[in-house]
Symmetry: C2
Subunit: 575 residues, 2 copies
Amino acid sequence: MAATKVDIRPGTYYDSVVLMQLQRALADLPGLLDAGVVMGTAANKDLLAQSDLLPAEAEVAKADDLLVVVKAEDGLTAQAALGQVDDLLSRRRSGTQIDQDYLPQSLEAAVQMLPEANWVLISVPGRYAAGVARDALRLGKHVFLYSDNVSLEDEIELKHAAADKGLLLMGPDCGTAIVGGAGLGFANRVRRGAIGLVGASGTGLQQVTSRIHQLGGGISHALGTGGRDLSEAVGAVTARQGLDLLGRDPGTTVIALISKPPAPKVADDLLRLARKAGKPVVIDFIGYRPGQYVHNQNGVHFATTLEETAELAVKLLDGPARPARDQVDPVLARFAPGQRYLRGLFSGGTLAYEALLILQDYLPAVYSNAPLDKTFALPNALVSQEHTIVDLGDDELTVGRLHPMIDNNLRLQRLQQEADDPAVATILLDVVLGYGAHPDPAGELAPAIAEARDRAAKAGRYLDVVAVVVGTDDDPQNMGDQIQKLKEAGAGVETSNLAAIQAVGARLQALNAAFGLPQVDPKVLQQPLVAINVGLESFTASLAAQDTKVLQVNWRPPAGGDERLMGILARMKGG
Amino acid sequence: MAATKVDIRPGTYYDSVVLMQLQRALADLPGLLDAGVVMGTAANKDLLAQSDLLPAEAEVAKADDLLVVVKAEDGLTAQAALGQVDDLLSRRRSGTQIDQDYLPQSLEAAVQMLPEANWVLISVPGRYAAGVARDALRLGKHVFLYSDNVSLEDEIELKHAAADKGLLLMGPDCGTAIVGGAGLGFANRVRRGAIGLVGASGTGLQQVTSRIHQLGGGISHALGTGGRDLSEAVGAVTARQGLDLLGRDPGTTVIALISKPPAPKVADDLLRLARKAGKPVVIDFIGYRPGQYVHNQNGVHFATTLEETAELAVKLLDGPARPARDQVDPVLARFAPGQRYLRGLFSGGTLAYEALLILQDYLPAVYSNAPLDKTFALPNALVSQEHTIVDLGDDELTVGRLHPMIDNNLRLQRLQQEADDPAVATILLDVVLGYGAHPDPAGELAPAIAEARDRAAKAGRYLDVVAVVVGTDDDPQNMGDQIQKLKEAGAGVETSNLAAIQAVGARLQALNAAFGLPQVDPKVLQQPLVAINVGLESFTASLAAQDTKVLQVNWRPPAGGDERLMGILARMKGG
């Protein structure tokens, strides 16, 4: 009868490769039916239970405990298998693939052995990883942090520490990178070339670099950032460093930026940086950003699939090395200092909605009473803040009053309110004609626009007003007359919502400046990569196979994994 | 010195046009500085406060109360203005624009006067609107429900009641529609033609119909649905009726569907209906659906801006009247009854993420441990449900174990689990090659695929397995060999994530059937529109100006707006 036996080793650390190999070696023993070797986390125990490998006595194992479960044809065989665990572990140790006479026991020792190392690769378990990264930064090394399960707080602290020292910290949870031709972590072997990439997504970067290679292009560098880099909390420190570095790298002529949907304020910064790169930049904010609204914005090209990103980047290699200079928008020079915000006062809910969508390509952080993202909900629909698009026809504002397509009062009042705000640069309005609508909306709006512009002018400001007129030449209001009245009041007029939003978006984007970080020394991309690897030995083997100089550290958890002792040690190092 | 006076009239109803006109008439009186006439809702009182028109004694006004505030040069003038309110109200009444000898006092009376009316337009305040709509449906009329602030519960009840009777109920909060050339609510005057529209968004529909007209095209009908129709709760009752009606309407050769992002399960149904329309359908799910992934899917075309929707619809007018028939996918015939779900087992987080995005064009309701929409979060990452995409490299699953690009165990186990589920049709895998990754992933995956397919075959099912191989011909694993092994195991292989997902998405979409509603009699679109209008008189004036037969009802709140009495009256009518 089949028997299951369990061995729990509290607080024992082995790296995941060792665990996998032990599991396979056990399962291959004669008479064994199945085996499980894992750290005792809840998820791992669930998995064991699914394979019928979690007897009651195994359930007490904790995340720090090594849990070995064997199922055999009979109890004796199972027990004998457990007896071989130590032997299998030591046998595996002598079969290591690394061609290195002496394994330093610490990062410090490794740096003394290989002082020219400029990178440290870290793939130890998450709860130890931040400590190792801190050590690496203190030693002045760039960091490739493969480990996941690193806290957000640690990530923020590490990235700011790195940036202050002019160092790169890729990750945590950075699966892939290519630096000067050397693939770190998971990386495809690709042709060297002139396309530089920054990727907040591992397999995204791998799919794009692979496709570029398949299409005949090549890669200068591919810098990973880790998946949380483009969150508002982290603020895209690594992506911004990467964009800036690739912009200054003479070996890179086209840049591609790949990321899952970034936080809107972060996207804002990255778009401005991309415009300043002086090279074509392909952006794939996978999915979030419709992208098709703006196909070429001062050298910034949007793609929406990994496939298209690769194709565009390769196509741009043959294009002009520098993007065509934007026509300078003559309106920009007229604004007073401090004028920087857009205020959209819409009567049409869908027009407001589409405006918010299209503006994502220019000004992702736009507040609204009907926002795309709850983060940007206006606390009070009657009061704008920063960039704002209000839907004045929203239910909340039409209780006991007419819709703003019939009754302009609310809009006339709001128009003056916005015009008096010294931070406002542009006011955007829709004017919807047709049956049922106000018989002469421009007749009421145009004088108010003229007055608002006049008041702003007296206060030393230029007030830009753009109106979208929706209607036909057969509408009862006479579309031509309506447009004429608005133009005479000084408003710019468009009949397409898309065209109006694009014009206004580009103008407002140009008004706002991107904020910078200390520059990283471009040598990081030009010097040959020399690495110290702390963690998965297979990464050392991979680098060695790429003829890259690398040193493996025989890392063990500090203080045997004891949290309190680890804290004391870290403080002694000043970490 | 300026003085402000207030008049509060509890429980008094006037329609919003009357309020606006009274406010303007008061403001125009000599000596008056400003005036506010509103129902006393919180939002309206905020607006008065912003204009400095909310003295303390006005703050007690409630949502049901008429609140009149006047500000004048002195107290006497203000008081005198308030004294004129009744006079101004009665003067306005005689100046009505409607050319109608007798105004029926109820919908029932109106129906007796104009029995051939097929539509009832309703624009009374939200809390009365559902009652009027119920009456209209009971009388067998189609309903255009302009009113907003109608509860979701009422909307659901009304739409199901309408559908059961084969009637349309557009709205609530339906701003616009064109039926047989007559514009209802807000509508632009557009050329008649062969493009039929269904729109869950008012000004969206207006922008598109206007642009179609400007581009030389014309409109057969434009059916509004109200903004909540495409929520999961309402289930797109009106949009589905509309798509079906336009599909059967001989005057419509191209259909366009415009909506803010629908609920994913609803989008699923609409996509299937659109494929069955037998006419080209342009879909603009504004923003939500990237759309560019699938440009022409059995006659379904995706647009991403209102502008593009109009352009595409006009272009398709000149195209073939019927969409090209899809090649029938030979795999479809092999599945057993009941096989209908996709299971994606990804090692690459970004590949999984992009899969979810692209699948939105085919199967918007896909569960995941890293879902695009929290509604579709898997309760347990280890157990799939319906369509599922799992990211096996997610942090939660890599604590104390190797990444699935190195260690295939978790995937091998999950593969058998999915294969044994009789509802599974297709399993999708990524195989990521390169440095750092497993030295021979196909060597482990291919036998498992063959075994899974074999087991399914023995159980009478066809198991479709598709693998995306990410890599280059220079990768250490030998990409050609890897592909060969997977193919020999019976898997379909793609090297582009996009191509794989598109193929699988189309296959799974074809496996699932759309669910139907009772059909609406197509006469609703072919007979001339004859309307009864309950609410804003300007809508009657608009219809009359379009030479459409219309009767205005002199509506007043039932039971003087008393909620309890209204309930009793409704029950007496059986409503």
